[in-house]
């Protein structure tokens, strides 16, 4: 039986850990709410943009243009979207592992570049030659996660579009955690460039006779970058919401585990105390018996 003081110390340390994890859970829950709100805010914008784009592209061959050019894949760029902080279960590791797996299997022999967003991805690809080039492309990989605005996201999107248009990269893939709900995140490998052509389902969209100012082609060329920026921004927002969801779940589990541990420690503490009392009584009785 462990000594009483040791157990007491352990109980104190486990309960303070429990306090920390439950506080972190509350913080994540609040941040998750805000992150989810941001996603909902963006939805009308991306929906409308998509509608206008569909209105426009009817009658035009959308396979033309710099951003939809399919080339033989020799240079692949991965945008690895993770968090700046840990303690969120498999959130960061899933992204990193997925990239390593896909890079080794599907893109064997290609020149691979990784643009790391988030400290965790940055740290784990630090020694990899893939990340060297990525760093020279985009340097704000860590600050963008804490300061996530549309203008920051569009700056990165413009850099990526430039890389593709100048034929330095033949394919750009976003790897991030898609937000399903607070407990479930799904790893998403999303092709950013070249643009995956969307299937137009409804033909009714083009029935209105719009005036195009200055002209259709010009507007399309303006709007495609916008829709790419929106896509990247959405991936970043999704990843942020997933991060807080993952952390909330992880911290919830940690709090539960701490509670369980405290209970079992309390039990063994009481047992040890009882044993001490019993042996004390035995000693007294034995002493009294000896005096007779």
């Amino acid at each position: 039986m462990a000594n009483l003081k040791e157990i007491r110390n352990r109980i104190v340390s486990v309960s303070s850990t429990k306090q920390i994890t439950s506080a972190m859970k509350m913080v994540s829950a609040a941040k998750l709410r805000r992150a989810q709100d941001a996603i909902t805010q963006m939805r009308p914008y991306s929906k409308k943009l998509q509608e206008i784009l569909e209105n426009l592209s009817s009658g035009l061959d959308s396979n033309e243009g710099v951003y939809s050019q399919e080339r033989e894949v020799k240079n692949v760029l991965f945008v690895s979207i993770t968090a700046n902080r840990g303690l969120c279960g498999g959130f960061n590791n899933n992204v990193i592992k997925t990239i390593k797996r896909v890079a080794d299997k599907e893109y064997k022999g290609c020149n691979i570049t990784i643009v790391s967003l988030g400290k965790k991805s940055n740290d784990s690809f630090k020694s990899s030659p893939w990340a060297e080039k990525g760093k020279s492309i985009y340097t704000k990989g860590i600050s963008i996660i804490d300061d996530l605005t549309f203008s920051n996201a569009s700056e990165l999107a413009e850099i990526l579009m430039g890389e593709f248009a100048e034929k330095k990269q033949d394919k750009i893939v976003l790897v991030y955690n898609q937000f399903k709900n607070a407990a479930v995140q799904e790893i998403q490998l999303e092709q950013f460039l070249p643009i995956v052509p969307t299937q137009l389902v409804d033909s009714k969209a083009s029935s209105i006779d719009y005036i195009f100012e200055p002209n259709k082609e010009f507007i399309i060329n303006e709007m495609i970058p916008k829709s790419l920026k929106t896509q990247l921004f959405k991936a970043l927002l999704d990843s942020r919401a997933s991060e807080h969801g993952a952390r909330m779940t992880a911290m919830h589990k940690a709090t539960d585990n701490a509670t369980e541990l405290i209970n079992s420690l309390k039990l063994s503490y009481n047992k040890a105390r009882q044993a001490a009392i019993t042996s004390e009584i035995l000693e007294i009785v034995a002493g009294a018996e000896a005096l007779k």
């Binding site: 805010q41 209105n55 195009f212 709007m223």
Partner: protein, 78 residues
């Protein structure tokens, strides 16, 4: 006519207006009620609107798209 100005981060404006002045890519233009359906792109500049009660409002934009159809205007701004 009904106007909505939307950015990726939030909804800036929603309401009835009588006139809207926009910085189009080919130069500034204005839209009055019952204008024909139009889609146009915007460049950096100021959007000026006159609300139904004659008060004026301005918004700065970096660029964007505007769609008007059936007296409904949607400005996707940046």
């Amino acid at each position: 006519m009904h106007l909505e100005i939307i950015t990726p981060e939030k909804n800036i404006y929603k309401g009835e207006v009588s006139l809207i002045n926009l910085p189009g890519s080919d130069g500034s233009f204005g839209i009055l009620t019952n204008h024909a359906p139009i889609i146009s792109t915007l460049k950096q500049g100021t959007i000026k609107i006159v609300e139904s009660n004659n008060s004026e409002k301005t918004f700065e934009v970096k660029g964007g798209v505007i769609e008007m159809n059936n007296n409904k205007i949607i400005v996707l701004a940046e």
